[in-house]
């Protein structure tokens, strides 16, 4: 049997202490140990972006990150974006602009979008394409996702002004 070790981290604003298998990735820790299944696995080797989360505010592929590396860090997943029932503007924009079909790539894309708009509040189409290129979507052809990101940028700017 593999030996478990104690890991202390913050997830979506709440502190957690859990015993994990040191071979577990952050993705597995979130999904299997913390039951946060909003973060998806599409490939488990860094090629699809479905598992994207923010660690201390920076986007990270949770399938390529070991859980044990999260000691003392703060992780934000798709479950942590909404304030109660009030959706985050990025979530709202994906709904309004039909930026999702099956919705499997959506949590990862939303996290990548949040990260993008934090750094570049008003991105051009090309900047959106470059910054989201690590996230695959098989259903949409990306058109409506780009429109969702553009609309989210507008919404966020309105909130700020």
């Amino acid at each position: 049997m593999r030996q478990r070790r104690l890991l202390g981290l913050e997830v979506n604003g709440t502190a957690a202490q859990i015993a994990v298998d040191p071979s577990q990735t952050l993705l597995q820790v979130l999904r299997d140990e913390l039951s946060l299944t909003g973060t998806k696995e599409g490939c488990s080797n860094g090629n699809c972006g479905a598992c994207t989360v923010l660690v201390d505010g920076v986007s990270v592929l949770s399938c390529l990150t070991l859980g044990m590396e999260m000691e003392g860090k703060s992780v934000l997943t798709v479950e942590g974006l909404a304030q109660g029932t009030r959706l985050h503007p990025v979530q709202q924009a994906y709904i309004e602009e039909a930026g999702l079909q099956c919705g499997y790539c959506t949590p990862g894309l939303i996290m990548s979008t949040v990260y993008l708009l934090k750094r570049i509040p008003n991105p051009t189409e090309q900047e959106i394409r470059l910054n989201l290129a690590g996230n695959l979507c098989r259903c949409t052809g990306y058109d409506k996702i780009i429109r969702s990101v553009q609309s989210a940028a507008k919404m966020l700017q309105e909130v700020q002004s």
């Binding site: 577990q24 709904i95 099956c102 052809g141 990306y142």
Partner: protein, 761 residues
């Protein structure tokens, strides 16, 4: 945009309302099959053959079973005897039970690289993974049949000694790898070619590709103490999978229940069961829930990609462009077991686009040591269109005619006899082609260095059966249960139809996808049949609900039901509108008391097939030093009929076009003697954000005359034109004709070099 049908104005149908299930898709709460973990769940992992073809001489699981945490190991030896060996359990794609089972779990032979040979259940996924390496398997490698054309040769090793070629002439005499030969013929072919002023003759190849859904297959199987099996999974076809599992495990269908969870893309690839069979054996053996989640590599290796193909096209035409003779031959790969039948027929029917004086079609399905192949969005039709639509383009070039004019000249008309002998339903083909010709996407001046290509796809849809029912609540709200899995917006579209019919708001009706115990038989979410067939079932269910409500209102108001009118949620007597009862009051007085529940059922099936038509215009730039093709502009024209939800329809058109462009330029399986070498998203190159332009989705045409709503299938046809549209655009940009898809940089570069070397063909 307000939609009308027979003069009636719709309020809800035709509105691009947001998905009714969208919040749970943006906040991470939607439950996909890998997200479900039941109390006491064990984790399944599958051991796969590294050989494309080998005899399995011995499997020893003793060491694996000694590993703490391992609960069970199963192999083909755990399968019960198969009673209905030759029963067709495919649904959309005919496949015999015996062959299907052979594909899902090897018994005495591994038939392809990645073939499951054993499976483990353990307390954690990590332990199950560790246990796989402790299972000893002794293989004896066998000769590998890895190429469709080699497989057809008389001296090729034969994969299934019992297999004979099926054709109209019956079954062939000798063992063979050719499973099926379809022939269609009309007119005097030799004379047709004699009459031609110009003949074009070409061969085309299309590589094997994967549907590429981002969610890998996953399932949890539970067997209760009385032998009832429940399967929670990611499926396009819950009822077909119930039949499959029951047949393959020789259980009564009444003891198998399939609960479809949210599905992260399918595109045809999640119609049949895949990890469910070994997982069910593990659940039977352990008596505990077992959950299996496939890895991306397993998805590429062994779930069922789309067939690669060889094709040959010969067209003869008069100088004015009129086609005098058309001959086509297709060879499609079924993989290790026969049963890709639908693809050949789809391709054949696709040839009904054009009138040809004389016509001959030969379609072959061939078995090889590859994964079984499965439908992928308009199965086989991209392979079909790449050949004929490229050849049409070449013909237009040779004759100096605009490619759209050539198609307009030869376009079939409604009611023409199709290549399969049936009558062509309404397509609006000619009018659509003319519309495209006048559209800026085709007519605007082209920037220097760019090439523009056009291609057409047409198919018939709307087969299969669907069920739905609606129940009223005591507060005047309703629940709709549908049998169709929601691939992408089905719930929303169906609620729009029901709400429109019941004269209520979308928010007054909740919808759920039923499991196989809670709704009537419904065929898979395939064949672009949801809006057309399930939509018809929902319409019937809503009409029936309304009829029952009127009956109850009549009882209440003491008149005949025929005297009752309904408007704005009020039932009233036609000639005395003061005599009335509101919808809410009527439900309150009825459902939980009085005459009891109000349930409207709707079943639809055997519907007249309806056509869907797409014309795509692609614009490319080609880097002549690297061969890299840039898609700079892409316009998809499609006739959706009456679009229930135009935004969802656009999404389908864009998504299909993107997949087609991926296939056209980058996607393909790479093999080394039957071994798949690019089973990951890095080496199997699907389109990313950087690879595609915005995709203009333009609606053309009229509502369908077939069906009760005027809708047409919208989900699949958009993957058909991209391969030839891109190929034709490359030809327009460079003068080089590509005949092998994907048209990778490497292939384009070598074609350019050959062309520049002066050896143009």
């Amino acid at each position: 945009m307000t939609q009308t049908r027979q003069g009636k104005e719709f309020k809800i149908i035709g509105q691009g309302i947001p998905r009714v299930d969208s919040v749970e898709r943006v906040n991470g709460k939607a439950v996909f099959s890998a997200d479900l973990t039941l109390q006491g769940t064990l984790h399944g992992k599958i051991l796969r053959s590294p050989y494309p073809h080998a005899r399995i001489k011995r499997i020893d699981a003793a060491k694996a079973l000694q590993l703490p945490g391992v609960k069970a190991v199963i192999t083909g030896a755990d399968l019960p005897p198969l009673v209905q060996d030759t029963a067709n359990v495919g649904g959309e794609t005919a496949v015999q039970a015996g062959y299907m089972r052979q594909f899902l779990l090897a018994e005495d032979r591994a038939l392809f690289h990645g073939h499951p040979v054993a499976a483990v259940a353990a307390t954690t996924p990590q332990i199950a993974e560790d246990a796989l390496s402790l299972i000893e398997v002794e293989y004896e490698p066998l000769p590998v049949v890895d190429d469709i054309l080699e497989a057809m040769k008389p001296d090729s090793p034969v994969i299934h000694p019992e297999l004979r070629t099926k054709s109209l002439a019956g079954a062939s005499k000798d063992p063979t790898n050719v499973a099926l030969h379809v022939v269609a013929e009309r007119g005097d072919l030799a004379k047709g070619f004699e009459d031609a002023d110009l003949v074009i003759e070409r061969e085309y190849f299309v590589d094997m590709v994967h549907q590429g859904y981002i969610e890998p297959q996953a399932c949890t199987v539970v067997v209760d103490s009385d032998g009832h099996m429940t399967m929670y999974n990611s499926t396009q076809a819950a009822f077909r999978q119930k039949i499959q599992i029951a047949t393959l495990l020789d259980m009564p269908q009444s003891k198998v229940k399939v609960v479809p969870l949210e599905i992260g893309g399918g595109f045809g690839g999640k119609s049949p069961t895949v990890p469910e069979l070994p997982t069910a054996l593990l659940a039977l053996k352990t008596g505990q829930p077992v959950k299996t989640v496939l890895s991306r590599t397993e998805v590429f290796l062994a779930t069922g990609p789309a067939p690669d193909s060889y094709s040959y096209v010969k067209i003869g035409a008069k100088r004015n462009g009129q086609i005098t003779a058309l001959q086509a031959k297709y060879v499609l790969n079924c993989g290790c077991v026969p049963g890709a039948g639908l693809t050949i027929n789809n391709i054949l029917v696709g040839y009904s686009l054009y009138k040809a004086g004389a016509f001959r079609f030969d379609g072959y399905e061939v078995v090889t040591n590859k994964s079984r192949t499965l439908p992928y969005r308009a199965p086989g039709m991209p392979n079909g269109a790449f050949a004929i639509e490229s050849a049409m383009d070449e013909l237009a070039q040779a004759l100096g005619i605009d490619p759209l004019d050539l198609r307009i000249l030869n376009a079939s008309e409604d009611g023409d006899i199709m290549t399969d002998g049936k009558k062509l339903p309404s397509t609006g083909l000619k009018a659509t082609l003319k519309q495209v010709k006048a559209h800026p996407a085709w007519a605007s001046p082209l920037l220097p260095g760019r090439g523009r290509g056009v291609a057409v796809g047409m198919r018939l849809e709307g087969a299969g059966v669907s069920s739905a029912h609606i129940t009223a609540n005591t507060d005047g709200t309703f629940n709709l249960v549908i049998g169709s899995v929601d691939l992408t917006g089905t719930r929303t579209t169906m609620v729009q139809i029901a709400a429109e019919t019941l004269g209520i708001d979308v928010s007054d009706i909740s919808v759920s996808v039923g499991d196989t115990d809670s709704v009537g038989f419904t065929d898979g979410s395939w064949g672009s049949r949801i809006t057309y067939v399930t939509g018809a079932a929902v319409l019937k269910a809503a009409q029936e609900t309304l009829r029952q409500l009127k009956e109850r209102a009549a009882l209440r108001l003491r008149v005949e039901p025929s005297a009752i009118e309904y408007r704005d949620r009020v039932f009233y007597v036609a000639d005395n509108p003061e005599q009335r009862i509101s919808l809410a009051d009527l439900c309150r007085a009825n459902v939980g008391q009085g005459a009891g529940a109000i349930i409207g059922y709707g079943v639809a099936g055997g519907m007249q097939l309806v056509s869907s038509l797409a014309v795509h215009v692609g614009e490319v730039e080609v880097d002549r030093e690297t061969g890299k093709v840039y898609v700079v502009k892409y316009t998809a024209f499609q006739n959706p009929g009456l679009a229930i939800n135009p935004v969802e329809v656009q999404g389908q058109m864009q998504g299909g076009a993107a997949q087609g462009v991926g296939w056209a330029l980058w996607e393909g399986y790479y093999w080394n003697k039957g071994q798949l070498v690019n089973a990951n998203f890095l080496d199997y190159r699907m389109p990313t954000f950087l690879d595609l332009p915005m995709i203009d989705a333009v609606f053309v045409g009229e509502p369908a005359k077939e069906g009760p709503l005027g809708v047409r299938g919208v989900g699949e046809i958009s993957i058909v034109p991209p391969l030839p549209a891109i190929g034709n655009a490359i030809s327009a940009a460079t003068g080089v004709r590509m005949t092998q898809a994907p048209m990778t940089s490497q292939r384009v570069l070598s074609a350019l070099q050959q062309h520049n070397g002066g050896s143009s063909s």
